[in-house]
Structures are given as C-alpha cells and as structure tokens.
Symmetry: C2
Subunit: 210 residues, 2 copies
DNA sequence: ACCTGAACACCGTTCAAGT
DNA sequence: ACCTGAACACCGTTCAAGT
C-alpha cells in the first residue's frame, strides 16, 4: 500500500521535512513549532500538512524510523559471541538513543504509539528483541517468562525514569538499565502476576475489515 | 515561607482550583485547557494565574499533593508484618495511583519535576521509601545498593512503560512492577555501573542565595 | 499533483478596570 | 488584596489561489 510513487519534488520535500523535523524535535522536544520545522526544511507550513496529517503523525513517522534503526542494531548483535552481553548492549543502545533525543521519550509515551506505522515498527523491533532474548535465555542467563515485547517496553522505561534528572546527571540511566536488567535474570525470577502483551495489544483497535 | 495568610476568598478559590484541576487533569490529562479548569472551579481564567504562575506550576502543585499522599501510605506501611511485602505494596500503591490519573504520568516526566515544591515532596517521599527499603533489606530480600530515590524513580518507570498500552490492558503495569521488583532483590544483584542520585540531584540548579 | 502563505480557531498568559 | 474577562501572542491546521 505505498500508493503511487510521489512526484519528484514531493518526495524530496518529504525527505527534507523528515530530516528537519528529526533534528528540530531531537533538540527542542515536541514543543518545537511546525513553523520552525518548515523553515528548517525550507518549505511552507502548508507542505507539512500535505505530507503528514498532523504534528503527531510527523512525530510518529520519525519514531518509526528510530525504532527501525534500533532493530538494525539488534539484528547486527544477533551473532555476537556472548548472547547475554549482546542483549544488554542492545538495550543500552536503545536507551542511549533516547538520551540524545528529547522527542523520542515524549513520543514513546504519547498517543503516537497507536499509529499503524509505529505499531508495525514496534512489532519488527520486538521480533529482533525476542531473538536476542532467546539466545540469552538458552545460555541460562535470562528468565523464561520474558518476551521481546517486554524488552522493548523496558528500554523505554529505563530512560524515562531518569528523564527529569537528565540535566543533573546525564548518565544516570545506566544505573536503572542495570537494575532493570537484573530483573530479567533467571536468578531473581519470581512468578509474574500478569501475562505479556502480545501482537494483539500492539495491533488492537484497528483493522475492522480484512 | 508561607507568606502572610491568604484572604478568605483567595484561600477558598485556591482550594477550589486545586480540586477542579486535579479532577480535570486526571480525566483529560495535561492537554485540558485552563478555561476548562477555571469553569469547573467557578472562577475567572485570570484567577488561575493569580494563584499559579503558569499551567505547569498548577500541575506541579497537584503532583506535590499526590506525592505526599503516597508518602502517607508508605508511612502507614512502616509497621507492617512483612517488610518485603510492605515495600512491594508501597510501590504497587504508587503505580496504581498513576494508572487512574492521566496527568500524573505526564507531570512526572516534564520539567515540572524541577519545581521546588515537587522536589521537596519527592525528597519526603524518598525518605519514606528509604525506610521501607531498609526494613526489607535487613530481612535480606532487597539488595544493598538500592536507595529510596531509586525506589521512587522506579515507581514512575513501572507505570510509564505501559502508559501507551493502558487502554488495551489496564492491568499490564502489574507485570512490569513485578519484573522491576525482581531487579531489586538480592538474588540477582550485579554491581551497578553508576551511583544513586542523592539529595543534590533533586535539589540542584536552585538556591543561589541563603 | 503539489506548494504556498494568508486566514481561522484555540489556548496560555497579561492587564486595566472593577470590588 | 483579589477577581474578572477582554485583549494579546502564539501555534496547529485549513484552504483558496497559484504553478
């Protein structure tokens, strides 16, 4: 469903907008204005809304890109020597990515996550996370009841804890990622009171027709 | 520094505003308008800004109240029979509180947390958390290197992970709270790569003069 | 088919006029 | 000393006019 291909100038503007928006939002967070983004891209404000239904959708498109980049990082780690270290490294990359992007954190929280684009990217990311988790699990280091979706969600958690203290201590997230990671280890595993979210949770509330 | 006491009508309006705002923001989140809050309180829009420097400060005042309520809950748990269960119950109460208040989560993330009022309440809450943690630690269930501040921050984390999936599965936070709590147990404790935040982190960037 | 910027609606914040 | 609502500035979004 990639419609028909965009006209050359439209495709170019779309790319310019995505790049400008990613830079602007990373620096100023989601409270940066559309006018600011349009100016940085060198297009009129109206063009933003021709390409993206709303500011939220624009953020969603960028978030989806970021998630796919992280998925690529994860895929590369699939043939690392130490599976457990690889899983930790994957999560570290994810948290680090957020720590240099003010909008990443805001977007992960917001309603944006409900957009099909973002859900699809989340799904791809969760698959990679699942593969990484599986390898670490086979090594005996990671508990049985943890899924790829869990890992993806906990990556957000590790950063969001420290977001408000970020300016005071930019590396604080390392502490909480380590604490959370210890919760994934088999040594401390206590039964979980609630089932993991599944494909359905991420895909819910859409696709009425088949 | 509670200035001189407010005039009777002003004190009454302030209370009406806090109540109206807490209700409105809990239901609609921080994107509810000031006009909406003022109408619910039965005062003019201008009155809101006479009492609170900005919308953010209003949210901060409410957040501080919520934190103090949670601190009270924690204090009550200090003489529970099972210290470890008490710590978990404390954290559960905190996450549950957020899950029924749309603005709580947003406020915890935002710059609001930097306000002196909120920092002071956080500090009080961290002290209670520290006492609860200490009891559980003496029982041998909780690792040595975890502080009250850690516990407070992880309470936010546990909920924020699931905020975007809240509508799909409102009880999902229970899973992540359990996972995170397992990370606090002594069984899985691996050395943490970064020191805990201290009083200074929460109090930073203010009080130039004494 | 796409771009543009003027126009619109909405909202946080200010302030002159009231009590 | 405090309240009020009209006025202001800003911003997301729309759309008629252009190419």
């Amino acid at each position: 469903m990639p419609q028909r291909p965009l006209r050359a100038d439209a495709a170019r503007n779309r790319r310019l907008l995505l790049d400008a928006a990613a830079g602007t939002f990373a620096e100023y967070g989601m409270e940066a204005s559309i006018a600011q983004v349009a100016a940085r891209a060198g297009v009129g404000k109206g063009t933003v809304f021709r390409h993206f239904a709303s500011k939220e959708y624009l953020v969603a498109a960028i978030l989806a890109d970021h998630l796919d980049e992280l998925a690529a990082t994860g895929t590369a780690l699939l043939d690392a020597d130490d599976p457990t270290a690889a899983l930790l490294e994957f999560m570290t990359a994810g948290v680090e990515r957020q720590s240099v992007d003010r909008s990443f954190c805001q977007a992960t929280t917001g309603a944006v996550r409900g957009e099909p684009q973002v859900r699809a990217a989340s799904e791809r990311l969760a698959k990679v996370a699942e593969a990484l988790t599986d390898r670490a699990r086979r090594q005996g280091a990671v508990r049985d009841d943890v899924t790829g979706h869990d890992v993806v969600l906990l990556i957000s958690a590790a950063y969001q804890v420290t977001a408000p203290l970020q300016s005071a201590d930019p590396a604080l997230w390392q502490r909480y990622l380590a604490l959370i990671f210890d919760g994934l280890r088999s040594e401390a595993a206590h039964p979980l009171p609630h089932p993991a979210p599944g494909r359905d949770q991420f895909t819910a509330a859409t696709d009425a027709g088949g």
